[in-house]
Assembly symmetry: C2
Homo-oligomer: 256 residues x 2
């Protein structure tokens, strides 16, 4: 049954959506059956896959609130081997309805239950927040993959995130694991990035993926064309990094 | 009495904290009396000014909850002409306590009331979120300055943010104005950035500041040294851009 991986970090703009979209697409291209769920009301992953509102039937929020079954929200074949559940902007309303914390925790787990046999991986793209609501939804994940932008604020946020995940493990989801930290937006010429990469590798209490995502303007251009990186710029360093990461994630899942 | 400017955008990592810290420091260096409030539980602005927990007495969350008067939380003279109210990481607890929306709305306004005569500008650094809680706190601001990273996701988020601010104007704070959008992290050599800059200037319903913040690794290094950019790299393009922005903000405030 599927491994559910949350791509999470409460720090904004560290590459969660870019990683969720491209890792999901690479795993699909490697022949696995993958589902990507956009759980961010900003709907960046939805836009990054070129989906316009007319192609969206139901969204992850409607599914979460139990108003729509998950298969009614599926957009099949957004990329090879990849199905997708889009999100939409209806933030204010959803926040109000989702405050009933208990329903939220079981809602995502229940919504995913019928599909766990249909996929090998379910990836979830998160908003930049760690409020009560998001924390409870982490109860539905098997593991967390943490994109970390190789700059100063990364270090302070990482230890806070690990403390929070330990809290979730104790109170909500003892089976939740941390697959590891993924260094992103690394400019090999910038000493700041190299310093933070070295610091994270030295101090992070857990795995740091060997794959490092370079700073590459192609990765920032791809969403504007609605394509994952391996379609938009298959020979580039961005596609290479995410293909390597997919191999590491496959090895990790195989080892489980 | 002070002009209260919220540095807000729900998209993560667009330069809110970098702008809040450096604009506040530049206004202070220009001879104005400025207060910067870190309203983000991630406490990046607090770290960027080199403040460690031992120098923090009370925080913005304690002030917001009415547990501490604002002057007990003040760290005076973090930079020339600049006082500061730090934040801390106690996110989970604060989220729970702040759900009582009504108290939150008047809390920030009341907390700021005794200080409005002591400063000319009060800048507020926001978390990357637009939930019920943050929306209500916008009721305390006079205006919003919106940092916009010159990349693909900027455009989709901007229209959503403007709709949300219109909602706040109608329901909570009719006097709330949008000072304008500030383009950030612009790499003049990258066509993607140039395209988004042109798109924002063409489509944004409101002012786009003439000042553009370039992508400069010095701006990312400065927080690691606990210094604003005009102290860390006074002759650089980052310091120049934020000094220009300070002049635009002063002209705008003078025109009011
Ligand atoms: N390796 C990279 N090289 C260059 N640009 C990148 C890279 N990764 C991401 N970007 C760009 O940086 C910006 C932030 O990335 P992204 O939106 O994926 O972060 P995020 O963590 O999902 O943000 P949020 O917290 O708002 O959800 C986007 O404009 C994206 O296109
Ligand atoms: N003009 C710039 N050039 C280079 N790096 C920058 C620039 N502005 C900000 N940065 C860096 O980009 C990252 C994101 O910036 P910042 O933390 O200010 O954004 P934010 O909007 O406050 O993020 P969040 O949504 O998490 O609060 C930081 O590592 C910062 O040092
Ligand atoms: Mg995202
Ligand atoms: Mg910030």
């Amino acid at each position: 049954s599927a491994k559910v991986i949350a791509i999470a970090n409460q720090k904004g703009g560290v590459g969660k959506t870019t990683t969720a979209v491209n890792l999901a697409a690479c795993l699909g291209q490697a022949g696995r059956r993958v589902l990507l769920i956009d759980l961010d009301p900003q709907a960046n992953a939805t836009a990054a896959l070129g989906l316009t509102p007319d192609r969206i039937n139901a969204t992850s929020y409607r599914v979460l609130l139990g108003e729509s079954p998950i298969d009614a929200a599926l957009v099949r074949g957004v990329s090879e081997g990849l199905d997708f559940v889009p999100s939409d902007r209806d933030l204010a309303a959803a926040e109000v309805e989702l405050v009933q914390v208990e329903r939220r925790e079981t809602a995502l787990r229940r919504a995913l239950a019928p599909l766990r046999g249909a996929y090998e991986f379910v990836l979830i793209d998160w908003p930049p927040s760690l409020g009560l609501v998001t924390l409870n939804a982490l109860a539905a994940a098997d593991s967390v993959l943490i994109p970390v932008q190789a700059e100063f604020f990364a270090l302070t946020g990482l230890s806070h995130l690990l403390n929070t995940l330990a809290l979730v493990q104790r109170s909500l989801n003892p089976a939740l694991r941390v697959d590891g930290a993924l260094l992103t937006m690394v400019d090999t010429r910038a000493t700041l990035n190299q310093q933070v990469v070295a610091d994270v590798r030295r101090t992070f209490r857990g795995r740091v993926f060997a794959s490092v995502v370079p700073r590459s303007v192609r990765l920032a251009e791809a969403p504007g064309h609605g394509k994952p990186i391996h379609v938009y710029d298959p020979k580039g360093r961005g596609a290479e990094a995410y293909a390597q990461l997919a191999q590491e994630v496959l090895r990790l899942a195989g080892a489980d």
